[in-house]
Amino acid sequence: MNALISNVLTQVCITLIAVAGIYVLTGLTGMFSLGQAAFMAIGAYASGILVIRTHIPFFLAALIAVVMATGIGYLIGYPVVRLRRDYISLVTLGFGEAIAALLNRMTTLTGGASGLTGIPRKVTLTMALVSAIIAIALAAFFKTSKYGRQCIALKGDELAAKAMGIHVTRIKMVAFLLSVALTSYSGVLYAFYMSYVDPTGFGWKKSADWVIMVFFGGVNSLTGSTLGAFILSALPQVLRSMQNYRYVIYAILVLIILNFKPSGLLGEWELTPRHIRETVARVRNKFGAKKEG
């Protein structure tokens, strides 16, 4: 495959994993995090530093990094799930920017502003693709589980959710931690694909970009969110030749969707196994009918 296409696809897959996490957090639970990219940074740096310093195998480092990020997520999540909704984005924003500043500052460990270099390149397109499929599948199973239902319930009406016995703070925490785990894993893949990370690019703008992707495709649909992430993360790469115009085009596209189809490209529509089966059956019928005729 063309190296450029393969590069774009690998990066898109890595973004898809993070966006699956954002879907769980924002799409299902209605919480906005502007510090989510910091968890990507934690995943990337922790796994990178572990492998460079201690030479442990990649998979072990990935696991430790995800567990570590989730642990930090628990500490941040504790206040976050108890705060009023409009404050969540501000707290996570503060946390994210603090992490970015910290990474800049802890020069001996992270390489500071000049970045962490020398991470072995372990991630291939196949691995990123498989990871993305697994991440999306986990999010899909989560959505249709008791957790997903309770998330959607409390997103719409917390008081009624509590009155039905839903442990709102716990369910929010579960969603937040799942989101953190997915995001930090995307960070691990990012580090071991780029073989270099620096603190820029993990700020609130990144987190905001992910939220935009989810809204673009359809905030109430995992299929839509995935599609939105695919289009919007591939677009700037494809438009690379147009240099500066790409973000303008991107922004105009999103504004058009927000104004004229606020529920996003796909609305609430989900691609389910039943849809696939029915489509396959229809195609087969048509094909079979033609043959007979």
Binding site: L90, L102, V211, Y247, L258
Partner: protein, 290 residues
Amino acid sequence: MSLQVIINGIATGSIYALIATGFALIFNILKFSNFSHGATMTAAAFVAYFLVSSKGMGLVPTLAVAGLAGALIALFGEFVGFRRILKNHSAPTYFFVSSITLGTLYEGLVTIKAGSNFFNFPSFFAEPTVGVGSLVISTSDLVMFAISAVALLVLAFIIQKTRIGRALRAVSFDRDTAQLMGIDSTRIIQVAFVVSGILAGFAGVFLGIKYTLYPTLGSLVVKGFIASVIGGLGSLTGAVVGALLLGILETILLAVLGSGYSTIAVFGVMLVFLLIRPQGIAGSNVQEKA
């Protein structure tokens, strides 16, 4: 702590106050954080730079053009980003997404014109510093403080004493009721955006003078957010108080901790505020209706 540090802090704080009030005005009326405010500041400052100050004109025309540009950009944003969402009664989260996208748009447009270069405003003042006793105050700090103070006083007067100000407060309090009482809420929202845009234009020029001008300058809007969190979201007085406190705190921390850790400490302070007193210094705690 020396008086010098406090004075520097107040100077920085007065710019933050411009950012925070512009931000709080919109938060008040639409109940969402306008994340395009930062890029509006940058874009307005760039317009003023290219049209006026790069041609050798002074600070006053620069500010005038920046204010005008800010107002126009904010109006454009209101029309493109928020009008329809408001009309559709979409969830407030849409404002948030829309405002971030608008910010990306403005920043992208600035980048097309300016590349990722840094630009310096010409030095507007003959004397770089003014000595008061043993204190040395930079002339630009002094002038920026004075202009910010005047701008905020004028704003306070407008909001407290004029008909437009009363309408603004009414719409902020309850849009639907205000509409029923014959206030054209769309018009008032536009006014809020214009005022917020003018403040953004001023703040953009001041930030440009202080830190040079570059396309991602707008990310300093975060200081405005922090200030309004400390002061109390939506409260204009709170935003000013929070901004001055933040300016002073930041200058002190900078002197004590150096640049990296002071940023972390500032966010730490904000987090502590959110956890201990989420309503901020000025805000009152609103109990959600069951």
